[in-house]
């Protein structure tokens, strides 16, 4: 089969070879026959007779080279190409429809593949599993999703009957320097067996091994990522043994990881891997590596060959239950209520397949991407229908040609195949152009993705998987769009098609109407979907974050990662704060320990001592801020008082601690009661001491993101040891113009201090809404495209119908029908299609609404307004498209129409 395909491309050479071969035979035979005494002419005749027809042999040999159907198919393609070149406007319209469909689907698929489907480039990725704790870990922690402690990972690694190895990892941002300047970089803190268990090889030197992760703080080594090595060391081969500074601590480079390996999180590509034993250097102030009650790492393992996920999960439970019991007796295990203890002991370990690694980006994009993929698939279907309609239209123009071929003895199957070859050719050309356009489309898509995605994480290139997908999509599109015309050709009666004069065949019209109806149904679904997403974005924008974003700039400072001790860092922050406040550009300025609208937060359950002692039933979002914070942000204090200098006392100084909670907190936990004076504290255990007094209530505003409405409690900043935080500066005027002055102020205090996430709050709001932006913009443009495609289809069919019925309309007009009745005749037809399309589409709309419900905000999945607007829009646009042919119908001159016959 492959050889035969290859033969197609070298058929010229094969032909000439065969011809030479046969001529050689013939000449030798003639010579031999002449020797035996025959005259030259006779010898030639005899030799030719013996061989039995050169052309026939050639034909037979060709069949062997290419097989029959392949040759036929090749000829079909050639014929198709010729006929397409003869009708360029038709071909361009058809190809364009498919380029849009295939290009959009391929671009979205590129992201789906990279973010959701692509397995890690490691040995046998299908055996990698994520291990997660279900239940209460009775632990504190930081980071997000599927966290456990480092010692538990070490214990799991000993379960060799189930796992080849279990490793753990945590991502953090470090200040990384190769000598001169510091810049923030993503570091992955990993257990020593990370590389061996994954099966990742070094490109230079060696990767981390189990021995590298021994006694804490004794082995300052690191492995660089290939990209970082290339960018910072120019790919120098002697990099091993050199040093990098991580938060100003020197680590010795032992090697560079393989170029294909970019960590196990598709959205966060680390520049450096650091053994867990050195985590204190990577995370300033972190001392809990060996603490079983600090959860901060994701734990993944490689199953033994032949062990299934279920077996491993069941096999772990006996050991795990024993470990839980043992944990409760361990020194340092907190005193907890019997109920919580029960919950702890009922915990279990859950395994999920993780051949794609672990990624917060994937979690976030899972639904939006699938929704968009479904949308583009529908769009592709719509484009196919459009091409089908075009082919049917052309088919009726080619009626006579096809009829003649049938009459000459072509089989119906052969003709159908010819028509399929037509559509496949169009689809493949469309696919090719679609692939050519894909990188641009993918780059545009990547720009929509959530913040923090490293530019290296996703690529816009075209790889073999994408090519394969585009090819499959093109072939599917070709078959789909060729189906209706081929079927139509198969049904045609030979006699009628020859008897009819060209251009008067009625056969394709009903099928074309069905196609347009289907297009309307699909369009309705897409446009309603787009309307839902646009309304969601609108609602979120209208709601806003709850504070004034204009003229507001934020940036992060982390002094500990720049080598400051906590007290020094605290003094540094104060100096910067003072310098900014004294600057003439500043209207107001404040510091929050954690940034707003980044998706993350400091959160913990709380204990409230009002009439009685209660614990919150879910985490409260916490933050600590300097006294000017609420004025700077424009957040109202509804009751009680704001923080002032009294509250910002240094750590360790005695006195009442204070907090400000938001309205949602009061509503959920304090009912109608006055919140002022109520005591609260972080934590929900019996050992929690509610010693902080609520002094004020603030209006609700967004912390993690715009969608959430959470309970929040804010503490004064300098009570804790603040050595870093996010500065919020309200300036006088256009915020962008003040970036250099702010940078100058900070660098005046410490020239080497990096400023992270330096941007305006308006930009921050946009970033936090990027998946909503992506859904609204893309589904909006796809909906518009869909509408255009189906309007073109509708227009095409109606024009055709008018041409077909010119005679009938002419007779009607001659018999005294009014012009408007001719218009109505056409519009009625169009309206029937539109309305039945809408009727068919409505259930799909309902299903789609259910599907995307979780992506919506403040909009019902079956939002009547969105549906009503879409229906009106579709009807109006459809009627407008039909009005042009209808007008033409009304202008039919009765005498002309009759004379045509």
């Amino acid at each position: 089969m492959i050889t035969q395909l290859v033969n197609w491309f070298r058929r010229k050479k094969l032909e000439s070879g065969l011809e030479r071969e046969l001529h050689y035979h013939l000449d030798r035979r003639i010579i031999d026959l002449e020797r035996s005494g025959l005259p030259t002419g006779e010898a030639r005749r005899q030799a030719l007779l013996e061989l039995g027809g050169i052309a026939q042999i050639q034909e037979e040999v060709r069949d062997i080279w290419l097989t029959r159907w392949l040759r036929d198919f090749a000829y079909d393609l050639r014929l198709s190409t010729r006929s397409f070149l003869k009708t360029p406007s038709f071909s361009i319209a058809a190809v364009l429809s498919l380029v849009l469909g295939i290009g959009a689907t391929t671009a979205i698929y590129s992201l789906v593949d990279q973010v959701l489907l692509h397995a890690l480039p490691v040995r046998q990725a299908e055996r990698i599993v994520l291990i997660d704790w279900r239940g209460d870990q009775v632990a504190n922690g930081f980071g997000s999703w599927n966290l456990m402690s480092y010692p538990i990972c070490r214990d799991l690694d000993k379960q060799k009957h189930l796992f080849e190895g279990v490793f753990c990892r945590a991502l953090t941002t470090v200040n990384l320097s190769t000598g001169d300047d510091y810049r923030p970089a993503i570091a992955e803190i990993v257990s020593g067996n990370y590389f061996p268990v994954l099966g990742v090889e070094p490109a230079v030197g060696r990767v981390l091994a189990t021995d590298d992760d021994g006694t804490p703080n004794t082995n300052p080594v690191a492995v660089l990522s290939y990209d970082f090595w290339e960018a910072q060391f120019g790919g120098a081969p002697d990099v091993v043994g050199r040093k990098v500074l991580v938060n100003r601590h020197p680590l010795t480079i032992i090697g560079v990881a393989a170029s294909t390996f970019k960590g196990i999180d598709v959205g966060q590509v680390p520049s450096i891997w650091i053994p867990a034993s050195m985590s204190e250097k990577a995370i300033p102030g972190f001392k809990d590596l060996l603490d079983r009650r600090t959860r901060w790492m994701q734990v993944l393992g490689r199953l033994n060959q032949g062990v299934t996920l279920q077996e491993a999960e069941a096999g772990l439970q006996p050991w795990f239950k024993a470990m839980l019991q043992q944990d409760t007796r361990r020194a340092g295990f907190p005193i907890i209520t019997p109920e919580r203890r029960r919950e702890f002991l009922n915990s279990s370990l859950v395994l999920t397949a993780a051949p794609q690694g672990h990624s917060a980006l994937r979690r976030r994009l899972l639904e939006p991407l699938w929704v968009l993929f479904a949308v583009t698939a529908v769009l592709l279907g719509l484009a196919c229908l459009n091409v089908s309609g075009l082919f049917l239209a052309r088919g009726s123009a080619r009626d006579r040609e096809i009829g003649t071929r049938l009459a000459l003895g072509a089989s119906r199957g052969r003709l159908g195949r010819q028509l399929l070859a037509d559509s496949l050719l169009i689809a493949l050309v469309g696919g090719l152009l679609g692939i050519a356009a894909a990188p641009i489309a993918v780059r545009t898509l990547i720009a929509f993705l959530p913040q923090g995605t490293a530019p290296t994480a996703l690529h816009a290139g075209v790889d073999s998987r994408l090519l394969l997908f585009a090819f499959a999509a093109s072939v599917a599109a070709g078959l789909l769009s060729g189906l209706a015309p081929a079927w139509q050709a198969g049904r045609r009666s030979l006699v009628s098609s020859l008897r009819e004069r060209g251009g008067t065949a009625f056969g394709g019209v009903r099928l074309r109407k069905v196609i347009v109806t289907a297009q309307i149904a699909l369009t309705l679904t897409l446009v309603v979907g787009a309307a839902l997403f646009v309304r969601t974005l609108d609602a979120l924008m209208a709601k806003g974050p709850g504070f004034t974003t204009s003229s507001l700039i934020s940036f992060g400072i982390d002094s500990l990662r720049s080598g400051y001790s906590p007290p020094e860092g605290n003094r540094l922050i104060r100096r910067i704060d003072e310098a900014i406040r004294q600057s003439p550009i500043t209207e107001a300025s404040a510091i929050a320990q954690l940034p707003l609208l980044t998706g993350g937060s400091w959160n913990d359950p709380m204990t409230i001592l009002a009439d009685k002692r209660i614990s919150t039933d879910r985490d409260v979002n916490l933050n600590s801020v300097t006294p000017g914070f609420f004025q700077t942000m424009g957040i109202r204090i509804i009751a009680g008082r704001n923080f002032d200098e009294r509250d910002a006392r240094a750590p360790g100084e005695p006195g009442q601690r204070s907090a400000i909670v938001n309205e949602a907190f009061v509503k959920r936990y304090l009912g109608g009661r006055s919140p002022l004076g109520v005591r609260i504290c972080e934590g929900s255990g019996p050992d929690a001491k509610p010693n902080t007094e609520i002094v004020g209530v603030m209006s609700n505003f967004s912390y993690r993101g715009l969608r959430e409405e959470s309970e929040q409690a804010y503490f004064p900043f300098f009570e804790g040891e603040g050595a870093g935080g996010t500065f919020y500066v309200r300036v006088r005027g256009m915020p962008e113009s003040f970036f250099p002055s702010l940078r100058a102020i900070v660098h005046g205090v410490d020239p080497a201090l990096p400023m992270t996430d330096f941007r305006t709050l308006n930009e921050q709001v946009d970033r936090s809404l990027n998946s909503e932006h992506m859904l609204a913009t893309l589904s909006g443009s796809f909906g518009t495209l869909a509408l255009l495609l189906s309007l073109v289809g509708l227009y095409g069919v109606m024009s055709f119908v008018v041409t077909q019925r010119t005679r009938e309309i002419g007779i009607r007009l001659a018999l005294g029908a009014m012009r408007w009745s001719a218009i109505w005749l056409v519009l009625r037809d169009a309206l029937t299609m539109i309305l039945s399309g809408i009727g068919i589409g409505l259930p799909f709309v309902w299903a789609l609404g259910r599907l995307v419900e979780s992506q919506l905000y403040d909009v019902k999945p079956a939002d009547p307004a969105a549906i009503a607007i879409t229906i009106v829009l579709l009807c109006l646009a459809g009627l407008a498209a039909a009005l042009i042919p209808a007008h033409r119908a009304s202008c039919v001159n009765p005498t002309d129409a009759l004379r045509v016959e």
């Binding site: 030479r20 046969l22 050689y24 040999v61 062997i64």
Partner: protein, 98 residues
């Protein structure tokens, strides 16, 4: 099988094979020269024959066919199965004669 057998002795061109076929089976089988070439090309496509252009005994370039390793295997297999068939047939005839 006939072609494979002939080519297994020495590399030959099409005309040579035709002559050899003629000689060997003069009276027994009549092979149409016209069907020789499709057969050769089919065997080449199956990978049992290898072809190359070489100078022939008359000094002109001709396409010479020779047996490949898998062709040799195929020939052996066919010989073997033919021998078994022939044995079986002889056995039947011997049985009948006794």
């Amino acid at each position: 099988m006939l072609i494979l057998q002939i080519v297994s002795l020495e590399p030959l061109h099409g005309y040579g094979i035709a002559q050899r076929v003629d000689q060997i089976s003069r009276s027994v089988v009549q092979v149409n020269q016209g069907s020789l070439y499709p057969a050769l090309h089919r065997l080449e496509l199956k990978g049992w024959l290898r072809a190359e252009w070489k100078e022939s005994e008359t000094g002109r370039e001709a396409k010479f066919y020779s047996l490949t390793a898998s062709g040799r295997k195929q020939l052996a297999a066919e010989k073997h199965s033919w021998a078994r068939l022939a044995d079986a047939v002889r056995l039947i005839f011997d049985e009948g004669a006794r």
